[in-house]
Symmetry: C2
Amino acid sequence: MIVLDGKKTAQDLKEEIKITVSEIRKDGQRSPHLAAILVGNDGASLTYVGSKVRSCKYVGFNSTLIHLDESTSEEILLKKIIELNHDDELDGYIVQLPLPNHINEEKILLAIDPKKDVDGFHPSNFGRMALEMDAFIPATPFGIMELLERYQIETTGKHCVVIGRSHIVGRPISILMSQKGQAGNATVTVAHSRTQDLVSLTKNADIIVMALGIPEYLRADMIKKGVTVIDVGITRVADENHPKGYIIKGDVAYDEVAAKAAAITPVPGGVGPMTIAMLLKNTLIAFQRKN
Amino acid sequence: MIVLDGKKTAQDLKEEIKITVSEIRKDGQRSPHLAAILVGNDGASLTYVGSKVRSCKYVGFNSTLIHLDESTSEEILLKKIIELNHDDELDGYIVQLPLPNHINEEKILLAIDPKKDVDGFHPSNFGRMALEMDAFIPATPFGIMELLERYQIETTGKHCVVIGRSHIVGRPISILMSQKGQAGNATVTVAHSRTQDLVSLTKNADIIVMALGIPEYLRADMIKKGVTVIDVGITRVADENHPKGYIIKGDVAYDEVAAKAAAITPVPGGVGPMTIAMLLKNTLIAFQRKN
């Protein structure tokens, strides 16, 4: 059984990006530059954005954190976005979600210049991805593809069951894995809350991508031997014995599933760490497309 | 067994659009206006475009056919497109494919204003569709959804196998049928040339969408009783006994499959006629969004 080590793979990726950045600098160019807009003080968002800024520093990117007050109006936020769209010294930026309720998220996403949309959430990027043109691929599915490729998991002709049809994970990964290319050419089924007889699907799957958000949903009796399992779930479950008061659980009952699987991503340390690495990679791509 | 009669349904739709247009005219507004650009003299393209123009007339739309010489440069075509983008009296237009080899199709599609892209081929529209925003849906998958809805075929929780992963049929219909909504909420599998053991998929499917382009590929021994079959195939097969020298064949061996199916689209007279009707519907939507 192979553990698909996202933590290590993300670290490898960062080292590669770091080398590329130092070559860019030697070449006399400025570093790639990523900005993040954060509105308000949501605890998880602060953590994510902080971690993104630290990762930028690590690989040698310039980074800018634009931290706006919770009460910031939609109009002010839109103005900021237009400013970033026109900033030639900026390659890409993200707007950390969720936004406060008084701001229309769709309106904000649509205002982002698709060329700087390194989160890949703009419909123009989503469409380009689905139509196999150059695009920014959302970090989580992009990270899954990278993991599958680096561990040389055979996907061609395999039956992959994706559980979850979200815009940022289930839908894009189902498209990517069924397209031509490495880690592609799979026969992909998308299952979701309305699916009947899920177990007959998972039992016949060669690859399972869990993106459901229900802790330890996938159990050993739902899979066949030798399956590859990708666990995208990250749910905080209360745990008195832990200093933080909670632990992170994936969508997979890890121990029993790992005992039957050929390959599996752990939680934490699987898909999660890949996400920030792929955001950095998208920023580098944005820089390279411009230069 | 129900025959999903695309010819009749398309006619119903046209009558409905005709009534809406007469109300628009009574209201003192101009008619919706569709234009088609045709480059060169490809026989099939001339037929399609001619049929689109006639359908426009039938429902009371204004229509413009822009027929350019085979030797038209990419630059001239792009200029024409920019002109149409800025024409306030025009609601939508299509560029008939295929284009001559010296013209970059992707470049042309990307130049079309997504608000006038009634074929729904622009990545911005594709992404909006996949992300469940208002969008122009490509006519063929849009027509399939309309047929399923009008015949009240139950799709929720059903297993739908889509055979073919093309940008204009397989991919979009697989997304639409797995989204929330009427004719949606299906568990959808996309199969294609690299799929292994296709028969075990089709035998377990409640709904099969054939978009492969191989005449009479789906046979009775590949399906279970009571399945709904949507046949998107239209292949010309040589036939000396026919005045045209060919007949049109679908991807389904109709007689034997129909005997086992609960519902089926014939070829011709199934999905085909729906396509033009949905192009008209998209044009009406473009008009209504503007006004």
